[in-house]
Symmetry: C2
Subunit: 208 residues, 2 copies
Amino acid sequence: MARRPTLEFWYEFASTYSYLAAMRIEALAEAAGVAVRWRPFLLGPIFAAQGWTSSPFNLYPAKGRNMWRDLEREAARLGLPPVRRPDPFPQNSLAATRVAVAGADQDWLIPFSKAVYAAEFAEGRSIAEPAAVVAILDGLGLDGTLTLKGASAEANKTRLRVAGEEARSRGIYGAPTFLTDDGELFWGNDRLEQALAWAAGERPGDLR
Amino acid sequence: MARRPTLEFWYEFASTYSYLAAMRIEALAEAAGVAVRWRPFLLGPIFAAQGWTSSPFNLYPAKGRNMWRDLEREAARLGLPPVRRPDPFPQNSLAATRVAVAGADQDWLIPFSKAVYAAEFAEGRSIAEPAAVVAILDGLGLDGTLTLKGASAEANKTRLRVAGEEARSRGIYGAPTFLTDDGELFWGNDRLEQALAWAAGERPGDLR
């Protein structure tokens, strides 16, 4: 049997549209016959490199106002719970991202990632403090304290930095981003369907 | 018979995603039973007010590279001709926008707007010079020189400025933007379907 095509799903825990993508990618990928590789990363360093000191949704208030309304509408359309905004926004995602990077090859990576997003955007809870991340891990039946400790080891910090460098070198400038086996980049939750179709071998029109 | 609901379509001639929206809004609106009011405006002053001196696609090169590739993919998916990039990008859209504002109540507004976009993004031609705009008008069987002269009158320049102020005061920060009768704002070609559904009275989930 041929190996299933893979789509890399690059996500940032502080990102509202990464949340929407995380909540719907599994079912859509299954239907498309595409495997998904979840790639947590930090968008902060990439934003900082282009001169942004906060989320563009904070830097540009009109854009930010509409993003929250749009998120509310899109969450309703997708059948997700009403959106609750974490305070502050964006949340510091360092501890959660360290854990996710440490869990790259673990079967809890996806449930953990979805639980972080649900806490943050469906319950409006903080995900910034180590204790919040530990509680989410504990809630999944893991040893949260031990897992976070492992994730804070030097080797894992390096792994997270390397992931960030990989993201930038592959052209990523926002989240979520989808990357196909042949390097095609799709940016944004709105492109999830197109990214999966491309990964499955479809090409729009006669494009290569 | 009840008045059809109306969707305002705010577009900027230099904007690549406004091009996609312009080429597909008529058929989709017809199917949704929604009337469309075409609202040309200049995005430059709004970008300038948030500190941008050029298109964000130029200011952020990784974002710009992907936008062009995405435009290529989306044009293919929508059955539009292969994209050709005008040089420079973004094009100075002042003359074309003055004409469109002057044509707000004319039956040539939509054919003119689509012809400008086709020249710019399907043929890669400049739309910046008055002569280019005159040629497009002539091609529609109008008197291009006379029409441009009328559009350059002080009263019409004021009309254009007022449209820009209206755009900003109604929360517009990019193009295309869709505004419903009840003031709901949808940003981006990717939200055209949702905007039309909202205008037609549909609400996602139990949202108000």
